[in-house]
């Protein structure tokens, strides 16, 4: 299935969980915030949350800012 991750189209296994996607991308779950189609998904819910084709995922971290 195809999903959008940080604005980029990606081919991912059908029914993949958010936690699995994060692990595959090398994102440490405790250090990133995740938004799925405009909803914030807390770390505790990512292992159970399955992606569907067309989903938009945003993965965010902290960077320098004032």
């Amino acid at each position: 299935m195809q999903v959008q991750v940080n604005g980029e189209a990606m081919e991912r296994p059908d029914g993949e969980t958010l936690a699995a996607l994060l692990a595959a991308l090398g994102a440490s779950s405790g250090r990133v915030a995740v938004m799925l189609n405009d909803d914030v998904i807390p770390a505790a819910e990512r292992a159970a949350r399955r992606l569907a084709a067309g989903d938009r995922v945003e993965i965010l971290t902290f960077a320098g800012g004032g």
Binding site: G26, M35, V40, P42, L60, T61, F62, A63, G64, G65
Partner: protein, 261 residues
């Protein structure tokens, strides 16, 4: 902890210097500057995770610092809805209720949108955030923000990163006089003397980023700002003498040096 604390909601801080983490040449310089500043509140921004450069992630190094609370900002948000979403996301990582609401639709001047800022503050305060709004130095807006439950107001001294100093000082005086929440000058300062002036005026704290990060020696400048903020606060608490239009002698004006006539 001493008795003169900066109280933000249920959180109390000894340091009245808040430091930003933007614009540093490298992470080590940023960390040294935070330590030299003695800041207990440090701002960060949200950015998309970069698979190619995971070292860009500041949460790891910042979480090693003892006694530092992270205050994410909502920079990049152009309206209240985006700022609210950014705040909720940021809290997932920071684990802190502190949020700097920053909504500036125009990248040219980065001036805060008062209407969207008020709306975002209202929503986030109701969700239990300690809302720290970056705002124009507008005394009426400051009261409106107070009414919706912000933890502080953060009027600008001058546009972000401009180094123009305390251009809004007369408005800041009115805000301070009327505010029931801490007033923190955020943005525009360049020199430690300006931070001291803000504190002497009665500001509760100052937030500095560019003035430290863009200094020739950031950590040394951070230490200079720390001293200036402490001196300014001490002067405020000591109470400045009233200004007078005329001279008032400090030495006795005796006439013994005059030749006898």
């Amino acid at each position: 902890m001493n008795s003169d604390v900066l109280q933000l909601g249920n959180l109390a801080f000894n340091s009245r210097l808040l430091l930003g983490t933007g614009k540093y040449s490298d992470t080590a310089t940023m960390l040294r500057s935070i330590e030299a500043s003695g800041a207990q509140i440090v701002t960060v921004a949200l950015r998309r995770f970069n698979r190619e450069r995971p070292s860009d992630d500041l949460f790891g190094p910042l979480s090693q610092l003892k006694g530092v609370t992270l205050m994410p900002n909502t920079s990049g948000a152009r309206d209240a809805a985006e700022a609210v979403r950014a705040a909720r996301l940021a809290r997932e990582i920071s684990g802190s209720p502190l949020i700097k609401v920053e909504i500036h639709p125009n990248p040219q001047h980065l001036l805060p949108d008062p209407i969207e800022t008020l709306e975002a503050a209202r929503v986030l305060a109701a969700e239990g955030f300690l809302v720290m709004p970056y705002m124009p130095a507008d005394p009426v807006l400051a009261k409106r923000l107070e009414d919706v439950g912000v933890a502080s107001v953060m009027p600008l001294g001058a546009p972000i990163g401009s180094g123009q100093g305390l251009g809004t000082s007369e408005m800041l005086r009115i805000i301070i006089e009327n505010s029931r929440v801490p007033v923190i000058v955020d943005a525009g300062l360049r020199a430690p003397s300006e931070a001291a002036a803000a504190m002497e005026m009665g500001c509760a704290a100052v937030l500095i980023n560019s003035a430290v990060a863009a200094a020739e020696q950031p950590a040394a400048m951070a230490a200079a700002f720390a001293q200036a903020v402490q001196a300014g606060r001490a002067a405020y608490l000591a109470g400045l003498m009233p200004r007078r239009a005329t001279a008032s002698a400090t030495s006795p004006l005796t006439s013994f040096l005059k030749p006898e006539t």
